[in-house]
Structure formats: C-alpha cells, structure tokens
C-alpha cells in the first residue's frame, strides 16, 4: 500500500518576490488605518464636546450702574434653577469673572464701577432641555439684562468640523484602497506573466478560467490578509505612541486624541479582511481579463 500523497501547490511559492509587494500593501493599510483612527479620535472628541455643550447654558448677567452685579447674578441663578430641565446652577462672582479675563488683561485691576458681566452656568438635562425662549422669558421683567447663550453656535461649528474630518478620512481611506487595488492589479499582471507556463498548462488540460483565477485570487487574498494585519497592528502601535508622545500638545491645541482605546482593536481583523478582499478582487478581475486577452 503506497503512502497517500499530498498534491503540491500549482502556483509555486514566491516568498522572496512577494515581500516588497507585502511591504507596499502593509504601508497603504497602515496609512488607511491611521486616518481611520484619527477620524475616530476626532469624532469621539467632537461628540464629547457636543455633549458637554448640550448639557450647559451660560447666562450673562449685565447689571445696571446702580445694581449689585453679584446679587443680580445670584437672583438670576435662583430664578433659572426653578425652570424644568435645569439641573443646577453655578454663579460666578465678580472675582471669578475677573479671573476669566486675566489671560487677556493680565493682572490689571478694573475700576470697581466697571459694568463687568457676571456669568451663571446652568447645568441642563440634555434629555429634557428647557423650551426654546423659556430662559429668556424668565428674565423679561428683571431689572437687569440677561443674555442667554445656549452654545448652539459652538455645537454647530463642532458638528461641522467633525463631519468634515469624517468625510476627509473616508476620502483618504477610499484613495488608499484605490492605490492598494492599483498596486495589486500591477502585481497580478506580473504574476500572470511570470506564471504563464502554469496558466497555459492548466488551460490546455481543460481548466476553466475560474480554476486558474482562483489560484491567483487565493494567493493575493492571503497576501492582502497578511499586509492588512501587519499594517493595522503598526497603525495601532503608532497611534498609541503618538498619543503618549503628543497627548498634552494635542489637548493644548484642541487636536483630537489618537488614543486607540480597546474598541479600536477591531480595526485589525477588519483591515486584514478588507485588504484581503480588495487584493483578491483586484487579482481576480486582472487575471480574468488577462486570460481572455491571451486565449480569446
């Protein structure tokens, strides 16, 4: 009884030749993952800021010349705290308002009669925000003027900036995927050319195009899978390192944090799979077209 044999792969191993291609694909996946992680960081930061803005309102209390500003602010805070949807108030005194101006004015003290607005921060229940105009109506008859800032302007700007970053990241990922597909197309053409003997021998013994294509498709799928895994792991490490090295600078300039977080680890299998599928599809289309051209 002879020992059962294992069939050798029909496409010979190209480990040495595939290495540069693997490196190029891994770099492209690395760039794509880095842009995804960056966009995710920006989105996370933007939604944090938006949530914070949505849960706060600021009252600027402008006292008259004869009024005690701090007292007016206390009254405004007390009035506002009775409004449905207001969870709490924080009244800032004249000295607290001065502290806010210090970065611009330095330690210069203002005259005592300078009509410095007092700020009252209202903590809002985001699920039960006070009706539009309700806060303003509260102070319609007050002896002092109150300007209500519900942060809508900021929230809108942040939402727009966040959307822009997201679209930019999507465009970048699409471009990188296109570049990866183009690289694979060239590589698949070269592989088909180099392995013309295999394709021809299979063709002449009656292998359908799908059989020959599947060989190249499998090879490029595996290559894409490896490149995807390597590129995404490197991107995670780079994002982590960037976060460690530049975290404080990022917060200073309001840049999004690239801290990967555990959830973003999902990017490794997803990137590997997407990279594998793009490679396989590009190889399949290229080899199919090549076979049709060679043997019409």
């Amino acid at each position: 009884m002879t020992k059962p044999r294992r069939s050798a792969p029909l496409l010979p191993g190209e480990a040495g030749r595939d290495l540069p291609l693997l490196a190029v694909c891994a770099i492209l996946v690395f760039l794509a993952c880095l842009s995804v992680i960056g966009a995710a960081g920006a989105w996370r930061a933007a939604s944090g800021w938006s949530d914070q803005l949505a849960s706060e309102m600021t009252l600027q209390v402008l006292p008259g010349e004869e009024d005690d500003g701090d007292e007016a602010a206390r009254q405004a805070g007390a009035l506002a705290s009775g409004l449905p949807g207001v969870l709490g108030t924080e009244v800032r005194s004249r000295s607290a308002s001065m502290a806010l101006l210090r970065p611009w004015l330095g330690n210069t003290s203002l005259p005592d009669d300078f009509p410095l607005p007092r700020l009252v921060t209202l903590q809002i229940d985001p699920e039960n925000r006070p009706a539009s105009g309700a806060v303003e109506a509260l102070f319609a008859d007050a002896p002092y003027r109150v300007i209500v800032d519900d942060n809508r302007l900021w929230a809108g700007a942040i939402a727009r900036a966040s959307a822009t970053v997201r679209y930019f990241a999507i465009a970048l990922v699409a471009l990188v995927c296109g570049a990866a597909a183009a690289v694979i197309v060239f590589a698949a053409r070269a592989a088909l050319s180099m392995r013309r003997d295999v394709a021809e021998a299979l063709h002449l013994v009656g292998a359908p195009d799908s059989f020959i294509t599947a060989l190249f498709q499998k090879r490029f799928f595996m290559l894409g899978l490896k490149a995807g895994a390597a590129g995404s792991v490197l991107a995670l490490l780079a994002a982590g390192a960037l976060n460690l090295a530049g975290g404080s600078a990022a917060s200073l300039f309001f840049l999004p944090s690239l801290a990967p977080g555990w959830g973003v680890v999902i990017i490794v299998p997803v990137a590997a799979l997407v990279s594998g599928l793009i490679s396989a599809l590009a190889a399949r289309l290229t080899v199919t077209a090549g076979l049709k051209t060679r043997w019409p």
């Binding site: 013994v205 009656g206 043997w295 019409p296």
Partner: protein, 240 residues
C-alpha cells in the same frame, strides 16, 4: 507492431459525427499570411492517423486548432459534432478535457514533480491524490519513469520529460490524443514502446493523431497519413 483498430477507415463506421472535422479551414496569425489554407478532413472516432510534412508546413498550427488553443480565421472546426469556431470560450474547457496533448516542447511545469505533472488533468477534473495516486504510479512504471516519480522536470533527461508528457496526455483516458513529435527524444526501443501505448489507447477507443517526421515510426503502423505542405493538405496516403 500491433495495428490500430480503425486504421484503414476514414469514415465513421458508427455513423456518428467524427471526432474532428475541418471544413475549408484557413488560419493566419494576426495580419500575416495564411499558414493553413482550405484544410478539409475528418478524424473518425476511434481512428489512428499520422500527420506529416516538412518544417513550417503548418502541422503545429493544425494541431493547435484541434486542441482549441487557436481559432480558425475562416472555415469550420467541429469536435464530436459540435462547431467549436463559434462556441463561447466558457464552453471550450469541457472539450479540452476530452483531448490529451503531447507537446513537442513537453510543457511540464518545472516546479511540480513528475507525479504532480502527470496528475494535472485529473486535478483539474476535480479528483484528489487519494483517488488517482496508484493509477499514476502504475502509468509512470509503464512509461519507465517509476523511479522518477518525485523528480522535478529540470532533473530529467529529454526522453524522460517526453515520457512524462505522454503520461500526462493519456492519464485521463482522453477521447482524442494528439501528439506532436512524441518520440523525437527517445531511443528506438522506447519509441516503439510508446507507440504501442498509443495503439493500445486507440484499441480502447481513443482517436489518435500523431504528428511526426519519423518515417520508420510511421511505417511501423498501417495507418492513414495526412500530409501537409505549405499550409495545404496535399494528399492522404497510407503509412504501410
């Protein structure tokens, strides 16, 4: 030498369509001159024939038309009664699997062992090594390559490569066997042995067409000879 069963007949006794039929076939490569002109002939099923002619007469082009590596520029090529000239390319592999080809340059895959090269048609047909392993070893023993089962083609002599190519062509028991100079690289004893293999396959029903310059080989079998010259099929003669 044993004689092929249907060597003396050019007509299909069964009344069914011939294995191969050429009707006024012309062929040119690109915009070049016609390498084959107005070729008409039949290979009845189960027949055994030789194809001969000087170098450049168009023998290889004619064989390429039969094993569907090329399409004619004009005329009709039909296999088993089916017109292949207008056939969609997706339908051609099924016909190719019914044809075994021995190439003049062997076309063995250099990275595969003799065993895997010979197994190629069966692998393409969806069989696995467990199913065909013993048959292939037996066939390789028969063609004198039993000791080179695991050898790679670059380590084989020309004759050994030729025998491996023949084994690959016959392993799936094709309905048509086409051989382009199949005994060009082997000694006379082995040539006779290989010819006996072809005759044996013909006895079992395979239609055989052998392109050869080897007059001694052609004369050793009483079979019709198609003679090509300058792209035209000039005459049909008997080999013995």
């Amino acid at each position: 030498m044993d004689q092929p069963t249907n060597a003396s007949s050019l007509t299909d006794e069964s009344g069914s369509a011939p294995a191969v039929r050429f009707e006024n076939v012309g062929m040119r490569y690109g915009r070049g001159p016609e390498v084959l002109s107005d070729i008409s002939f039949d290979l009845p099923r189960g027949s055994f024939q030789f194809l001969t002619g000087p170098s450049g007469a168009g023998k290889t082009s004619l064989l390429r038309l039969i094993y569907l590596a090329e399409r004619p520029s004009r005329g009709l090529v039909s296999l088993f009664g089916e017109d292949t000239t207008a056939m969609e390319r997706g339908a051609l592999p099924a016909f190719r699997r019914r044809i075994g080809v021995v190439f003049q340059d062997f076309r063995l895959l250099q990275h595969l062992s003799v065993f895997d090269n010979v197994a190629l048609p069966l692998r393409v047909a969806g069989q696995n090594a467990r199913q065909y392993g013993e048959d292939i070893v037996e066939l390789l023993n028969w063609v004198g390559l039993g000791h080179r089962v695991d050898a790679l083609p670059p380590t084989l002599s020309g004759g050994e490569q030729q025998r491996a190519a023949i084994a690959r062509a016959v392993v799936s028991r094709p309905e048509i066997l086409i051989a382009d100079e199949p005994t060009g690289n082997v000694d006379p004893d082995m040539a006779r042995r290989l010819l006996r293999l072809f005759v044996e396959l013909n006895r079992l029903g395979t239609t055989v067409l052998i392109a050869s310059h080897d007059i001694a080989l052609i004369r050793s079998v009483n079979a019709p000879v198609l003679e090509l010259a300058d792209g035209k099929l000039n005459r049909r003669t008997r080999s013995a």
